[in-house]
């Protein structure tokens, strides 16, 4: 189950954080997302050590804590997408397709002429699309 998705900008400023649980642990997710940023930096600056190629967008599993797993994705414009999930058996291909659809929704939100690059994403349509993508995550597609 996905509990949180986040979009972080080039200067590591949060552009969009959405949690999908009922509890009020929004602060905990902010904290987890913030810690994951360090892991992303490390992966990007030391490509040989961590095994990813230098210009791959999907960064994979960033780090597992006892409850959550965090996946990362880096776009060409250094905007980072983060996915926090409680599932224990998440398939790699599911996460990749999730990020692909999330990237499409992000590109549409960024193409909005009223969106200021670098500021928070306030589009309701984007939030709805993200909600729809999250709901259909993990549902096996034929």
């Amino acid at each position: 189950m996905i509990v949180c998705v986040a979009v972080v900008g080039q200067q590591n400023n949060p552009l969009f954080i959405q949690s999908f649980t009922d509890g009020d642990d929004e602060l905990k997710f902010h904290y987890i997302v913030h810690c994951s940023l360090d892991v992303i930096e490390e992966k990007v600056t030391n490509p040989k050590k961590t095994g990813t190629t230098m210009n791959e967008t999907f960064l994979g599993l960033l780090y597992p804590t006892e409850d959550y797993k965090v996946y990362g994705y880096l776009t060409n414009t250094r905007v980072k997408f983060l996915l926090v999930t409680t599932d224990q058996d998440v398939r790699d291909v599911d996460v990749r397709s999730f990020f692909r659809r999330f990237h499409a929704a992000y590109v549409d939100a960024a193409s909005n002429p009223f969106h200021v690059p670098g500021k928070r994403i306030i589009s309701k349509a984007f939030a709805e699309r993200v909600g729809a993508i999250v709901k259909s995550f993990g549902v096996p597609t034929t």
């Binding site: 230098m54 210009n55 967008t57 414009t77 250094r78 499409a104 992000y106 193409s111």
Partner: protein
């Protein structure tokens, strides 16, 4: 802002619509500035936003999973992919400057945005290609290659109209990073 771009399913935007819109944009800015440099600056700013958004869009559609980190890579991206999606063809030429290490030039015989524009003599060297220069600047800045981008007219022997050159001057840190990577 609308540009002329060709989707894979060949949905086109009409040239007339864009020409009218662009002409209005130039006229609107002309009444609100005091000198030529400011007019160029405003057109560049208008193009900058377009460039940032085009970068996001193109990277998602065309490039799959690759992120450009090399100078030549991003230049060829601008020269072919960006030009093809904006104007329907690749740019005429991409050259490296001879005097300076950090200068590159993309030339076009006639920029699409300038096709219906003739600049009066009292405006000197003003070029509405500043809009396209702004687009290129947006793409380069968004990919992490900050640069100064300007548009110039370059007279060509044997041709009545000069060709337009987009001059790209990268900042020092880009060159240092490039030297480190190669």
């Amino acid at each position: 802002m609308s540009c002329i771009f060709f989707h894979r399913d060949l949905r086109l935007v009409s040239l007339n619509a864009f020409a009218f819109l662009f002409s209005e944009m130039v006229q609107y800015n002309q009444t609100r500035v005091d000198n030529i440099a400011e007019l160029e600056h405003r057109l560049e700013d208008a193009g900058y936003g377009v460039g940032l958004r085009m970068l996001e869009l193109l990277c998602h559609r065309e490039k799959g999973n690759r992120r450009e980190v090399r100078l030549l890579g991003i230049l060829s991206f601008v020269h072919s992919t960006l030009w093809k999606s904006l104007f329907g063809k690749v740019a005429d030429s991409l050259e490296k400057g001879t005097e300076n290490e950090d200068e590159y030039m993309i030339s076009e015989k006639e920029l699409l945005v300038n096709r219906f524009i003739s600049v009066p003599k009292d405006m000197g060297a003003f070029n509405c290609g500043a809009y396209v220069a702004g687009i290129v600047k947006g793409v380069l800045d968004g990919s992490g290659f900050p640069a100064r981008v300007t548009a110039h007219f370059v007279p060509v022997e044997g041709q009545p109209r000069p060709r337009t050159t987009i001059l790209i001057k990268f900042t020092e840190e880009v060159l240092q990073r490039e030297a480190r990577l190669s």
